[in-house]
Symmetry: C2
Subunit: 225 residues, 2 copies
DNA sequence: ATCCAGTGTAAGCAATCGCTTAGCTCCGGT
DNA sequence: ACCGGAGCTAAGCGATTGCTTACACTGGAT
């Protein structure tokens, strides 16, 4: 299996934050988990700090022992979430081997990212769709991570075009469309689908290859599957 | 141009609601426009009724002359927006002619919907991403319209598969992925792109055909373009 | 002339918001 | 034995929330 869980605890697969920073105070982690659930259900502005405190089993003031503000709590979540997402993409690309074709790398990255969005759909929904609630400075910082993720996909497409492996007239536009497709999984998963994250990853990887492959050269299946 | 503006005022293309219900009280329309702008900028929960009233040039109480509640104002926006979106899809499909191939219909619908999301990105952002803020009953009603839009795409894909025109192993999953791609335009347009809505529509229609076309049968260009 | 429905505002209500303050308990270091 | 900081809470601050009430103005029908 090329795209690994990268150290995630399989018993806690439904959240990203749960697995992060095991050294931090347990209450701080509980707060982040509680905040992710609340933000995913009602959005940033729709969630009160009392909601979060309740879910974490703390009094309203307990939040501010560990985080300076609601926005900082949200910022920590989005930062960790985006770091994990970027790491997942880079690891998937690296795992396909140093001599991998552009097609193999595209398949690995799209499958990994799609499965990631599905597995961690609660956290992903928060960090994908509530980003404008960040302070301007924090937004810029997190957005830089997003650009790196886009750059990975764009790089693979460009490499494939250069080598003649792909036929992509608009690399930037196609990369954006491709990531839209992948990202949006977090919004609807697991409704409308009885598929596992891995099955979904394979489907989306196939679709991505169809988008990039030149006329009459489409690979029907992944090498090694 | 197969996908028409369907009666939209070209001078007010940036919003959906502006063109709707010209018989309604002007203040009610102003409120809907103001609410769309505010919701798009800050989200439903991030927007106060005083924000909306200010933008519409009314006192805070003026909102409740025309709408029973903030939720009802939001509901009217989402309802009208989804009706227009569905109408746009149906008209695009119909405009491709009664004897059109599945490929022609897919191209027409995807191009029209993509251009629509781009042109009306402010309204689209509100009605696509803040939907869970609706009351349960209103959510069910609007969601029924969404399912009709999905059904259009799914129907075209299924027809193409049946006639041998398409090769789509997972019609439902592909339709969902395709609509994710199209819908997500509203979230980032017009940033990251110097393309017009029409150019973007052509790019996305090409990508959609690549996703659906069987091995070695991809049409490089639209018939008639 | 009078009325009345439609459109609007000033003022304010109860509730909730993010966050602070003052003070408690607990526990490891000395 | 005693200290000091970390973790937590009860209480509450001022601001803002969605919305209501009471009242004013307008223009057309009677």
């Amino acid at each position: 299996m090329p795209q690994s869980d990268a150290g995630l605890d399989p018993a806690q697969e439904q959240g990203l934050v749960e697995a992060w920073d095991r050294a931090a105070a347990p209450a701080a982690r509980r707060l982040m988990i509680a905040a992710v659930e609340a933000f995913a259900a009602r959005g940033y502005h729709g969630t009160s700090t009392r909601d979060i405190a309740d879910r974490a089993g703390l009094s309203p003031a307990g939040v501010y022992v560990h985080f300076a503000s609601k926005e900082e709590l949200f910022y920590r979540i989005t930062l960790v979430g985006h770091q994990q997402t970027l790491r997942s993409a880079l690891e998937a690309e690296a795992a396909s081997g140093p001599a991998a074709s552009a097609a193999e790398r595209l398949r690995a990255v799209v499958a990994a990212q799609t499965a990631f969005e599905a597995r961690h759909h609660t956290t992903a929904r928060v960090i994908e769709y509530d980003l404008p609630c960040l302070s301007p400075e924090h937004f810029i910082e997190v957005n830089a991570l997003r650009r790196q993720i886009t750059a990975v996909v764009r790089g693979i497409l460009a490499d494939g075009v250069k080598s003649g492996e792909f036929d992509v007239p608009d690399v930037d536009g196609t990369a954006l469309a491709l990531l839209s497709m992948v990202t949006d999984v977090a919004r609807w998963f697991p409704a409308n689908s009885r598929q596992t994250p891995e099955q979904l990853g394979r489907l989306y990887a196939d679709l991505a290859l169809r988008m990039a492959a030149p006329h009459g050269t489409r690979a029907a299946d992944a090498p090694g599957h």
